[in-house]
Subunit: 156 residues, 3 copies
């Protein structure tokens, strides 16, 4: 086990989750490399090898567009998220980066105060060092449930 790498990836995950939970959406694209890929799918689709995705972006620029749309739609203001991310399991580590598999739960807190367990799943990430900073070259969000809320526009 490479403990330093383990803790670096964990730190990246925690900063990623806190940026979203603190409504610092503009910082979200910077957790990805310039040509980083971001995909949200379900375990059912993923396991059957289906290319279906709820969200699929292939660059930081696309993620920035997404944030702009969310801000315009004002959808984010009505709710908060709270991610709890498990320690990552590093499944690979060659040369530039690491493959990490990481379980997560997300609670959603509506403006009314109502709190629900909103999503659960795992991240399948490719983490690289980009100018010395750990970033996602790829982040696949695999949701356990196939029930997709219409508000999924918000990053997971």
């Amino acid at each position: 086990m490479n403990f330093e790498l383990q803790l670096k990836v964990q730190d990246l995950n925690v900063r990623y989750a806190q940026a979203i939970d603190d409504n610092q959406l503009e910082a979200w694209p910077d957790f990805f490399t310039e040509d980083g890929r971001y995909r949200v799918t379900t375990a059912e689709n993923f396991e059957r090898g289906l290319p279906l995705s709820m969200i699929y972006a292939t660059s930081r620029a696309m993620l920035r567009d997404r944030v702009r749309s969310l801000r315009d739609a004002n959808v984010y203001e009505a709710q908060r998220y709270r991610h709890i991310v498990a320690p990552p399991l590093l499944t690979e580590d060659k040369g530039r980066g690491a493959r990490a598999r990481t379980g997560f739960l997300v609670a959603r807190i509506m403006h009314t105060g109502e709190t629900t367990l909103f999503a659960s799943g795992r991240y399948e990430d490719h983490v690289v060092l980009d100018d010395g900073v750990a970033r996602f070259a790829e982040k696949v969000v695999i949701l356990d449930s196939r029930l997709i809320d219409t508000l999924l526009a918000i990053p997971l």
Copy 2:
């Protein structure tokens, strides 16, 4: 990243959560320094800079009083808590201590067995070494939801 400090703060958080979850309330004040501050507020109040707090204590003695009241009121026996605390994000580290921001979820298990997602939020902590032991000089509990249960008397 200072990995040792990271793991020390994480260890403090885990011991803190387990003491509460195991109903070792009498040990709770000892996680704070003698003049440690403990505050529970909402994200809404916190972000607006409002000084409103659900709980505000400015010493270990006040926390001990609080535990005594809880025991007298017998309120703790009717339920259990289960904290899941994310890894801390250390945002500062000068001289004596560290600032840590830490996400958490709390499940509440009623005597009947019913389990609900009770609270979510983040800790904004100031952790110091107090005679070689890591303790909270300040712990601010910032709840995501503004719906406050009347049983909030119990530590978060």
Copy 3:
């Protein structure tokens, strides 16, 4: 604090949880030593010193039988689990192994997509090095709630 041991036990816990959550049940017994003990009980029973258990197995072979029954009953297909396991608190470390106390939450995702907070509790584990691999010589699952779902047959 022995940070390396801390991270090794955490890694064991994460791999354990992911094997179950990924429906790799056949790998589950291998997280235990040949004569490893696995017990599921409630906090209420545990604190009263009652020997009652929902599940009690005293060898890897018994766990293998259990997995076979679950596969035959086809019970696992209808749902997914998502464990979120807190960092472990090592309470002992002499010679061959460590005692670890670890909080957890488990979400259950039904085939319909419905997600609920299914279980919470703590593990009281005895972790040993078995031919250089960290394994459970004993794992006691102590559930916070006394409401036991009939589907508890599935590993926690």
